[in-house]
Amino acid sequence: MTIYLNVWRQEGPDKPGRFETYTVPDVSPDMSFLEMFDVLNEQLTLEGKEPVEFDHDCREGICGSCNMVINGQAHGPNARTATCQLHMRSFKDGDTLFVEPWRASAFPVIKDLVVDRDAFDRIMEAGGYVSVNTGNAPDANSIPIDKVAADSAMDYAACIGCGACVAACPNASASLFVGAKLAHLSLLPQGQPERNRRVVNMVHQMKEEGFGDCSNHAECEAVCPKGISIAGIAAMRRDYVKAMLAAD
């Protein structure tokens, strides 16, 4: 297949960006989307041009590095699929594709398709943990945990922190990311002692970083490569109100 690409190129955070057009011939349907970019970059390098910078690492949908908006959709057209797991068989010969980075003021562009997602780390630092020092732990089986609760916690814990939820949200809200971490920990007994302060601190940090609020568009859930449910956002809201009422 031949694919016509319009790729966002931007030299740096303060530089203006633009779409550049490229043609990639001989694309195999078994190629992954990023492998097509590898081919394009080889082509550009041999032509003496600068390759397109994009973040990628594990290429099996778990590290959360890759972040392309493809024809307006974060991670492209397939449900529950990160960009690196998207294969060219999802497209047709002759397709024209627009490829952009995540767009959100809390995720400034570093170069081309690479964005700065440090804001997510700072939200985690605000409370996304259980305060237990190494060596403090009791025997792992001393607290039985209901299997249903543990499975549900795992559903939320599966978040890969890619930021597609933010990219898809009209408000650039990080509520699904934050809600997923909160729900994971509040479903487990280990998460209870810090439950109130965790939700307050993480929600406040999210605002501090310039992410918007949730207005129930549910676009985040639609693009999430791990299929995380927006029920996590509802739980976050409940917990936040409870925590605020509980505060002096």
Binding site: E50, I110, N141
Partner: protein, 636 residues
């Protein structure tokens, strides 16, 4: 230089306890004065950084990804071993130790492996306390499953995302210490050199991957937690950024590199499908619990797998190894897949794959149970191959997955450079010539949570530290060397891309230093790689500049180091005239085609010392087995 493993005296079961009893301590207000650098934030790095920070050390942590949470430990699927014996099936610390030593084909240090088995239970406790959502039974207690190379169920798991969950646990502990001000976290930084002052590791040079700036950091100890070197083969299950550079620069500063030829080729990966392929994807070994491996009996059989009747199928692992069946260790499973494809019985368009069939398990347990156990793996498989494994058997083939070799360390996890420690996959220490499934996560976390806090403390307490600042000549020299190298890479402007060189190197490694090796091939690899290295430095084209984000430049530096490593690996494989674990020398095999060890001559760790001019020099650390009897591994 004589290698001293510094193993504590006394009976095996008491070595670590005695070590802890005699340990020198650093007082809390002194810990604050000591600055420690941790390079890499995978399981080993994140757990070490968090724990040392909790103890009061001042930590600077570095990773090449944009966030500490993305280190490649995240991709481990199947599970983590521990000797809890919750299922009551006869497990114990001794048995986990024994299985690990035996699985490693008797090429690891008894004392290290025993300590690993002892720590295994603490790891599970710690992770559960952090909120890691391990799989549970309906009664609320933790679930276990079995893995290759063991006859007990001792593997704890979180669906097929155990590495992710354990790493996120360690990352959350790290985040907590960042917020407490005890860790300075530097993401998108690549370590380019080690700074040695008066014979001790005192700092590192990093490149800021966003601005290209070279940065100097000074410390009293440096912890190398930078993972394995599987990407020397180009195609592997490693993440694209996994590399040997940090470890290799330490090697060039005097840290010996051990057992480079011990690489693990994992039996259950999705087969290669085209020359544009950038990496291989692992399907967790846990699949072998319920999947049956087979090929057609007849090489000419071209029927679709569902139409091949039972009598025309060869379940070769079950046939050859009746007591372990599909759960033989990884090296045995991989080698047998190679044998059947060499016989022309491989399946798929390329003939380079075998079937992993769930038909019987689905019949026995129902689709729901199988989907609960492996749902996400099946989905991933279908996404990549467009085949539905509920209906047709998976096709799998071995791929490079893990490297048992690495930087040489003593019992303290200290390298041959005082003050430089090495943890996790980056060191060589615990898995011998073959690693058992679900043991990598265990080792990374054991090193980080439960070993280094004590052993590094012992070093700090026993040394006096002159203040060293980053204006010291050693920092200037190291920074200049890195700068010159980067300029050189950018100035060659040849005709071949970094990727082309990497693929050529990978082909040499896979063909001659892969699943099966021989003297002639290894010699071919050594001369071929040497010529390729020469050509790289004359003909590579690296686009862009140094003062910006430039992944081509990052990759160029890494491939340059892989070219040197490849040669040392081939020499290591040539020197080891025996077969053991993942290292299979065709000249040394039993009449049944199994690995034939030579314990009299090769029961040692091969540690290579870099020379400024001339080839690396081999040092041998003799392995003493006082507690286990060396036997021919048998999984029959």
């Amino acid at each position: 230089m004589k290698l001293d493993a510094k193993e504590p005296a006394g009976p095996l079961e008491q070595k670590w306890d005695r070590y802890l009893k005699d340990l020198k301590l650093v007082s809390p207000n002194n810990k604050r004065k000591h600055h420690v650098i941790v390079v890499g934030t995978g399981l080993a790095g994140a757990s070490a950084a968090a724990t040392l920070a909790e103890l009061g050390y001042h930590i600077s942590a570095f990773c090449i990804q944009d966030s500490a949470r993305r280190a490649h430990s995240i991709a481990a699927q199947g599970g983590i071993n521990a000797a809890k014996n919750y299922p009551g099936d006869g497990d114990s610390v001794w048995r986990l130790f024994y299985d690990t030593i035996k699985g490693g084909d008797y090429r690891s240090r008894e004392s290290n492996v025993y300590r690993l088995a002892q720590n295994s239970n603490n790891i599970i406790d710690q992770c559960v306390a952090q909120g890691v959502p391990f799989a549970r039974e309906y009664g609320g207690y933790l679930a276990n499953r079995s893995f290759g190379g063991a006859q007990v169920s001792r593997t704890f798991y979180a669906r097929g995302q155990t590495g992710q969950q354990l790493l996120l646990g360690a990352y959350s502990a790290l985040s907590r210490q960042v917020s407490a001000g005890n860790i300075d976290m530097y993401a998108r930084r690549e370590m380019l050199d080690l700074v040695v002052v008066d014979g001790k590791a005192r700092g590192i040079i990093t490149r800021n991957l966003v601005t290209g700036e070279l940065e100097r950091y000074a410390a009293d100890a440096v912890l190398l937690c930078t993972g394995g070197y599987g990407n020397v083969y180009f195609l592997s299950t490693n993440a694209k950024n996994s590399n040997v550079t940090a470890a290799w620069r330490c090697y060039k500063r005097g840290a010996f590199f051990a057992n480079g030829c011990f690489t693990q080729i994992h039996p259950t990966c999705i087969p290669v499908h085209g020359d544009y392929q950038s990496k291989l994807t692992l399907m967790s070994e846990s699949l072998r619990n319920d999947g049956r491996v087979w090929v057609p009996k007849n090489p000419e059989d071209s029927r679709p797998p569902q139409q091949i009747p039972e009598e025309d199928r060869d379940y070769y692992l079950e046939r050859k190894y009746p007591s372990f069946g599909n759960l033989v260790p990884r090296d045995v499973a991989s080698r047998n897949a190679k044998y059947v494809t060499d016989e022309g019985r491989g399946v798929g368009a390329t003939g380079l794959s075998v079937y992993l069939d769930f038909r019987d398990s689905i019949k026995r347990l129902g689709r729901d149970v199988i989907s609960q156990r492996y749902g996400n793996l099946f989905e991933m498989y279908e996404r990549i191959t467009d085949d539905n494994p509920y209906q047709v058997p998976m096709r799998i083939y071995p791929a490079v997955h893990y490297t048992m070799g690495g930087t040489w360390v003593d019992y303290n996890l200290m390298t041959t450079v005082p003050g430089l420690f090495c943890l996790g996959e980056a060191n060589f220490s615990d898995h011998g010539a073959n690693r058992l499934g679900a043991s990598a996560l265990m080792q990374g976390l054991s090193d980080g949570y439960f070993v280094i806090p004590y052993t590094m403390g012992q070093y700090i307490a026993g040394e006096s530290f002159q203040a060293v600042d980053t204006e010291h000549d050693a920092f200037k020299e190291a920074e200049n060397a890195s700068r010159e190298r980067l300029s050189k890479l950018l100035s060659i402007n040849g005709n071949k891309t970094v990727l082309q060189f990497h693929k050529e190197l990978g082909q040499f490694m896979w063909d001659y230093v892969g699943m099966s090796r021989n003297s002639e091939g290894l010699k071919k690899a050594i001369s071929g790689i040497s010529a390729l290295k020469e050509s790289f430095w004359n003909d590579v084209r690296v686009p862009g500049s140094n003062d910006t984000l430039n992944k081509s430049l990052e990759f160029a530096g890494r491939v340059a180091d892989f070219l040197e490593l490849g040669e040392v690996m081939a020499r290591d494989a040539l020197e080891r005239e025996e077969s053991c674990g993942g290292h299979f020398r065709e000249e040394y095999q039993t009449p049944e085609g199994e690995a034939l060890r030579n314990d009299d001559d090769f029961a040692y760790v091969a540690a290579w010392e870099h020379q400024e001019s001339g080839p690396a020099v081999l040092h041998k650390e003799k392995l003493a087995f006082e507690n286990v009897k060396l036997t021919q591994r048998s999984y029959k």
